[in-house]
């Protein structure tokens, strides 16, 4: 077997090593921000739902990271994450039903044009 250069060895060690808690938290924060940005700026209602799902997943990731890393948590955050997934599934079903109803009456899913309840 040819000798492995030290840079490659360091890279492999860095990839195999356990990441710190802050890594998961920062990934979750950035993903939440991306989801919030998409939910704010996109016009298609279905894409807005996808971005809401992204935010829910970011929060789930943070929850599970805390449950695994904090000694006092006892791993119960994973159970909470299951409940969050169930509620998100219910939300996506009702939300898409509302989008379908709006599309059926308005022929559009563009959020700028749905202003029937504007005061």
């Amino acid at each position: 077997m040819p000798p492995v250069p030290p840079q490659v060895q360091q890279l492999v060690e860095a990839l195999v090593a356990t990441p710190p808690l802050e890594g998961y938290l920062v990934v979750g924060a950035i993903m939440f921000a991306i989801g919030a940005w998409g939910a704010l700026v996109r016009r298609n209602a279905v894409v807005v739902f996808m971005c809401v799902e992204l935010m829910i997943n970011a929060v789930n990731l943070t929850l599970v990271a805390f449950a695994d890393y904090l000694p006092g948590a006892g791993g119960l955050g994973v159970s909470y994450a299951v409940l969050v997934i169930a509620i998100a599934a219910a939300e996506i079903a009702v939300g898409l039903a509302i989008v379908l109803a709006v599309f059926r009456s308005r022929r559009t899913v563009n959020l700028d044009e749905v202003n029937a309840m504007r005061g």
Partner: protein, 168 residues
């Protein structure tokens, strides 16, 4: 990979591409769950999100499809830069706080490693998790109500014709 896919959801011009990017992002999250000693939750993630939610969203896209838009001006609303500033501010604030907070003695491996312990936690049998019995039942009722509500909201009115819509 997760973050690149999440950016793809926001920035892709085709709605179907957005949905596929979203499923890629959820797969990345499932990988994180495996790294965090929660393989059962990763399985749930793959089954529910990558399977069910993506299919439901593609279904919704199929119903509401319009001619494809080609320019960013048509997919973003007018508040795009204000929205970007707000979201970047929120992300930077969250990352700063979460990174600089002293979380005490953190070490991996506190989670329920095997599925049996995870199931006992979820059903409220083990000590300290009694509240999950209530939450489990509430979640089941909520799912039932959501199914009924989805059917009621999205069904056609009787005698309304085949997907004719209301002329404005």
């Amino acid at each position: 990979m997760t973050l690149v896919s999440a950016l793809g959801v926001v920035l892709s011009r085709n709605v179907v591409h957005s949905a596929l990017f979203m499923s890629g992002s959820f797969l990345g999250i499932a990988g994180f769950f495996v790294m965090l000693n929660a393989p059962a939750l990763a399985a749930f993630q793959v089954l529910i999100y990558v399977g069910a939610v993506t299919v439901v969203i593609l279904f919704g896209i199929m119903f509401t499809q319009r001619p494809q838009v080609r320019r960013y001006r048509t997919i973003l609303n007018r508040q795009q830069w204000a929205g970007f500033l707000v979201a970047a501010g929120v992300g930077a604030f969250l990352a700063y706080v979460l990174y600089n907070e002293d979380w005490g003695s953190t070490r991996p491996g506190n989670g329920p490693r095997d599925v049996a312990a995870f199931g006992r936690d979820l059903l409220g049998v083990s000590a300290g998790s009694e509240v999950f019995v209530l939450l489990f039942e509430v979640a089941s009722i909520l799912l039932l109500v959501a199914i009924v509500a989805a059917i009621v909201v999205s069904r056609r009115k009787i005698g309304a014709g085949i997907d004719r819509g209301v002329e404005e």
